[in-house]
């Protein structure tokens, strides 16, 4: 998938496959109460449209003739490592927001992110992480009265 041509071919095929899946899945949608449009009609047509346009993207890529094919700006090895690291970090943050609460997980997430992707002394990371957590608490929890899970801290403040 280094060139635009090969990337379009793969992407088009994937979209066509997704469209077909939607078409098949829409066949199982039961009829609702009355109406002139079956609840499956819209998803069925959209699945079909996606499958067809995906096929067209692939066909166009297969037979595309341009002077310069154009390369996709994929990251290098280190770039992919950072990409994956950031994604795992964000996934971890989301996963821990429930059990640990937003404040503790925000503190940990910001601190780790700064340490991993920046070259700052630990105290800078701690100050930023603490500042962000306190802002979240002050703005969202106290001022706007949003019900954010606070994890163990909720017990502490009760």
């Amino acid at each position: 998938m280094k060139t635009q041509r090969s990337a379009d071919f793969v992407a088009g095929s994937l979209f066509a496959l997704l469209g077909l899946t939607v078409v098949l899945a829409s066949r199982g949608i039961p009829e609702g109460a009355g109406g002139y449009l079956h609840p499956r009609t819209f998803p069925f047509l959209l699945g079909l449209a996606l499958a067809l346009s995906g096929v067209l993207v692939s066909i166009r890529a297969r037979f595309m003739r341009t002077r310069s094919e154009g390369r996709i700006d994929w990251p290098d090895g280190a770039g992919w490592k950072n990409w994956l690291l950031a994604l795992v970090l964000m996934g971890g943050y989301v996963a821990l927001c429930g059990p640990l609460g937003f404040l503790i997980s925000t503190f940990a997430f910001v601190l780790i992110f700064i340490k991993l992707f920046g070259s700052y002394p630990l105290r800078v990371g701690v100050i930023c992480a603490l500042g962000t957590s306190l802002f979240v608490y002050g703005m969202f929890v106290k001022l706007l009265d949003l019900t954010l899970p606070l994890g163990p801290l909720a017990l502490l403040w009760e």
Binding site: W80, A86, C97
Partner: protein, 502 residues
């Protein structure tokens, strides 16, 4: 000139210290909440509604209205600075405004946004003051066939939002429509494409989708490049130049008129009108090639339109008690809390109150300008914060914004998944704007189609027999034909250029 004398009396009451104070507080609160991703005007009014219960009706309603248009303004800040459109109406602002930030022009973009919001917002209030009774009938002229035809016009905007490849734009739009129809069918209650998942029964909210496509994918792009700072330019501009203002004047005036007129139609939210105006400006612009690369007139048009639509929405609210969107529905709740029922009788029974609120809107819009212009330089400095520090904060506020909508952790995963989708769409050259627009329009499109077919007992001719709907169908056809013509012309021009260069 009954309106003028009523308005002057309204001003007398609106500029009392108490009412001025609450207009100011509402403007500040609205702007602050609007800046936070995910928290749009609806959430802002709903959250702050209990605070107003201690007040008399006039200051309370002045404050709620100020929160509403303050939040409309605030939404542009994060879109321009860090590519987080907190709601669908800010997506075109993010498309152009963030490019300006990368070029070191965040200040001019924010400044133009403030000026445009003020001018177009004030045009909206003028429309509300003098033309409300005349135009209020528009709200009643819209039935399901007109709404369906309007969504068809909206979908034709894919032509202008598709960038280089129309086919890829169509794929993106279909993906958006599919995303929006997952979950319970709005009319029959049947679940669709949930694949047995309980979380998907509630559907996929489009705000987490938008924030994933823009903010999270932006983080992933910066992380892979080991970016030190999101700013790419060496030269930084802090305020708009006269040239910027001159270039944007036409866009501001047009967006004020279009936004106000569109605001009269219930259900035609700023999310729809901002895309409409974006497309319109692209067609009117002397430099359409700048669109997508940081067109300041586009920022002016979209932000002006948002505010004018917000003001236009007060016409059906005051005239018939019909809220144009969710935010005004909450505001309607605020009226009812005080035993007031917006509609024809409110104008007869409480004219002083209505005119005080309308007068306070002029004052509130001016306050927003005075509040926000001096802050432009301060906000613009945010782009100078090193990415390793700014990046995690963007993630935190994006995810909390996504969570705040339904208090659902599922929405956080949706944000991340669409962040990955957005990343690959960017890399592979699939435009994300058509996906957002389609996701916004999908429900209205399907619901109005089903209702129209029920009205006509299954005959699709209903769309061609009603004048407004027919006009929209013709407009959609013209939009497609002219879009294809412009595209072909641009392609031919490019080939000529390439040949002359060779």
């Amino acid at each position: 000139m009954v309106e003028l004398s009523s308005l002057l009396q309204g001003f007398e009451r609106a500029i009392t210290p108490t009412n001025l104070l609450f207009a100011l507080l509402g403007s500040i609160a609205g702007t602050v909440v609007g800046v936070l991703p995910g928290l749009g005007p609806t959430a802002a009014i709903a959250m702050l509604l209990p605070l107003t219960t201690l007040l008399d009706p006039a200051p309370a309603l002045i404050m709620m209205a100020a929160i509403y248009y303050g939040a409309m303004y605030g939404g542009s800040t994060t879109s321009i600075l860090v590519n987080i459109p907190g709601e669908a109406s800010s997506v075109p602002t993010a498309l152009e405004g963030y490019q300006l930030t990368l070029q070191g022009r965040a200040g001019p973009a924010l400044g133009i946004s403030a000026i445009s919001s003020f001018v177009a917002g004030t045009m909206g209030v003028i429309g509300l003051t003098f033309f409300a009774p005349m135009l209020s009938r528009v709200a009643l002229a819209f039935g399901p066939p007109e709404y369906f035809a309007l969504t068809v016009v909206g979908i034709t905007l894919v032509m202008s939002l598709s960038g280089k490849s129309l086919l890829k734009g169509i794929v993106s739009a279909v993906l958006g429509l599919l995303t929006a129809i997952v979950g319970m069918d709005p009319l029959t209650g049947v679940t669709r494409l949930t694949f047995g998942s309980m979380e998907l029964v509630g559907g996929i909210e489009f705000v987490p989708v938008i924030m994933g496509l823009f903010a999270i994918s932006e983080i992933l792009v910066n992380v892979e490049k080991e970016a030190k700072c999101i700013l790419q330019a060496k030269k930084i501009e802090w305020l708009p130049t006269w040239q910027d203002i001159k270039e944007s004047t036409g866009a501001i005036l047009r967006s004020g008129i279009v936004g106000f007129l569109a605001g009269l139609i219930p259900g035609c939210s700023p999310a729809v009108t901002s895309f409409l105006v974006y497309d319109l400006e692209r067609r009117f612009s002397k430099h359409p090639e700048r669109f997508g690369k940081g067109a300041i007139d586009a920022v002016a048009a979209v932000e002006g339109c948002n505010n004018a639509t917000a003001q236009g929405g007060f016409v059906p609210l005051f005239s018939f008690g019909i809220p144009s969107g969710p935010a005004l529905a909450v505001l309607l709740g605020g009226f009812m809390m005080y035993g007031l029922q917006p509609g024809p009788r409110l104008m007869q029974e409480q004219p002083h109150l209505v005119w005080t609120i309308i007068a306070s809107m002029y004052v509130g819009n001016f306050m927003l300008l005075i509040l926000n212009l001096p802050l432009v330089g301060l906000w613009a400095r945010m782009a100078l914060v090193p990415f390793p520090i700014l990046g995690p904060m963007i993630v935190v506020f994006t995810l909390i914004g996504a969570y705040s909508l339904r208090h659902s952790f599922f929405d956080l995963w949706v944000t991340l998944i669409f962040g990955i989708v957005g990343y690959f769409m960017r890399k592979l050259g699939f435009p994300v704007a058509p996906m957002v627009l389609a996701a916004v329009l999908a429900r209205l499109m399907e619901t109005s189609l089903v209702q129209s077919l029920t009205l006509s007992q299954g005959s699709p001719l209903i769309f061609l027999t009603r004048p407004i709907s027919l006009a929209f169908v013709i407009l959609a056809a013209l939009s497609v034909v002219s879009g294809m013509w412009v595209r072909e012309k641009a392609k031919a021009g490019k080939v000529e250029l390439e040949e002359s260069e060779a």
